[in-house]
Assembly symmetry: D3
Homo-oligomer: 139 residues x 6
């Protein structure tokens, strides 16, 4: 019985800023540089969700990738796409919308839903740009 990992890529475009409300503008600029522009900036985010499991002996599939795609859209990317990550997203509210925190929050949106469909969530990998990305394995 082989354990195989299957990954689905989705994407969303969003605005954010790195900004601590309890700090002054000067403190935010000193700590976060241009990422603290008060008028926001944004990115094209690419999201890779990896599920592990055993391929079904008849269908050869771990999970239905179309169903996994629908799940990621409903629980994650439809809530993030063309949104302001500091203001508009219920599941990251009250946290800094860094790539690191987003990866963890996306995991929490998906873990139980993937388990309910017979897979095991293995990794959430989130690219903010082609030059930096965060990964979370649920630990």
């Amino acid at each position: 019985m082989a354990t195989v990992y299957i990954t689905r890529k989705e994407h969303f475009n969003a605005a954010h800023k790195l900004w601590v409300e309890s700090w002054t503008a000067e403190q935010n600029l000193e700590r976060f540089g241009k990422c603290a522009n008060p008028n926001w900036h944004g990115h094209n985010f690419n999201l890779f969700v990896t599920v592990k499991g055993t391929p079904d002996p008849v269908t050869g599939l771990i999970v239905d990738l179309k169903e996994l795609s629908r799940l990621i859209r409903a629980r994650v990317t439809d809530k993030l796409d063309h949104q302001n990550l500091n203001l508009d997203v219920d599941f990251i509210r009250g946290q800094m919308p860094s790539t690191e925190n987003l990866a963890v929050a996306i995991w929490q949106q998906l873990e139980a839903e993937v388990a309910a469909r017979g897979g095991t969530l293995h990794c959430v990998k989130l690219y903010e740009t082609e030059n930096n990305y965060a990964e979370y394995y649920g630990e």
Copy 2:
């Protein structure tokens, strides 16, 4: 005497929205869909600037690519990177920051400067996402 085209890629990350101030929120949403989110969204933009000219018989170069890169940064991407394209950018102020209009505005920032360095600006190509881009040839 060969005419060769040389292209330099630069990039910037920015926020914007498609929003006509004189329209109601409903009109904007109907026309621009999710691109009219009042709280902004954003993109990783990739910019390709093409200069044409004749390679120098000694150096083999049309223009110094490091100098072209510095020029694009000083006149264009330093003014756009981590900025809000509707609010923060002098050279697109008062215009809708669509990819189409941005390509034309970037051309206007660069044309005379490229000519002053002995090249001829040929094309500005601007990717908003990997799925859509605009090109402007100065005509």
Copy 3:
């Protein structure tokens, strides 16, 4: 009044073979090599459709990209995706489904529809693999 070119990327996955029905199997293999496998092979095709026009002075747009995307899907990629290009596609029937012929056939599917929406179709660019692609400009 600037003339700007805007491009939308869509994609489809399909099977095909290069095979002339009036030739013998040996002739087909000699001419087309492994592309003439009688049991078919396939590709992930990437399609870039370029429309030229003048940005609207209010909206900054040439055509609505979401509408352009819907048009390409309805007229082209929904008819090609997960299909057999030799057997299943009405608008290429009776022709060899080479990348060259597909680019021309896709142009014919789109030209009048783009014009009806106020743009001018400029180029159809079709990648069969990352190593080869065809372009057609309507001439």
Copy 4:
């Protein structure tokens, strides 16, 4: 003695369908959607094979990458390229040619051959499209 992982990318283009012979056409369509088109569809597959080992103190190499490339071609991609994965491939015959099953079958083609050349096969990663891929680690 450092343990280093070295990866070689190869590729192949192939046709397949997701189809269970003992099911009706309706059952196949309901379960696999457009992937069950009876006339096939296809993909450009990208294959990444990772070998782990200790770099040789003189040559700095774990395995000869040209030899690894020849091995992958002889045992895997020459058998898959421009083929029909349901009909033409000895080493996946009788199994559903899903990306998951293909990754496992490719592992089995390579494991002993890599060991015979002094390396340890670590991972087979297979992209079906740029939006989904499977990984197998031999467990």
Copy 5:
């Protein structure tokens, strides 16, 4: 009779430096910066060769892409791959191996050969890095 453009991608890895023999080391460093390192540097070059023509009414092809690939390898990339562009390459000898000059020299290697096979060479596009490339159209 449609005119279609077909493009084939090939690649080579090579060393070079930007260095004018009749200048001092200081002059070279001042003009070319780090590209004038006397001990060389190198790149992974990507080459795109575009041929225009009319698809054959029977085969749907302009030129045989496998034959075009063989031609580019024999006349161009086999002579450049894993070579020193300042020292090892007959067809660029005595010229500065800039991307601009290489694009022109590659055109000269291919133009008559493409014509002899019934196509018309349209463009040579050469990427030195993902951030800069040169194009030559034979004019």
Copy 6:
């Protein structure tokens, strides 16, 4: 307390050859093929450095990515970019500049520096071309 992995991409262009000084030219050519061209060849290298840690509860960050970028440039890529890896680089001197050995040497340049900034170096991944790369995890 979540453990998250954050990755930064940097790049450099360099010349090298695979060549054992104590071997004859024939032995080097037999073992390394075209990689043993005495006049060097070169590559565009892409470097991915992964750091693991716990996001700060206030800033949401593991390490400052701009600081990580500066560190990688100062300790690694500024020493490699536009250099000859066999001749010019202090931290790989006396070793074969294979991708495998470079990955290990880059790890040694960064491990203590990353720890001094509160992160844990997790992986150094080095692409020599898009077709091969080495990974080192410090073990």
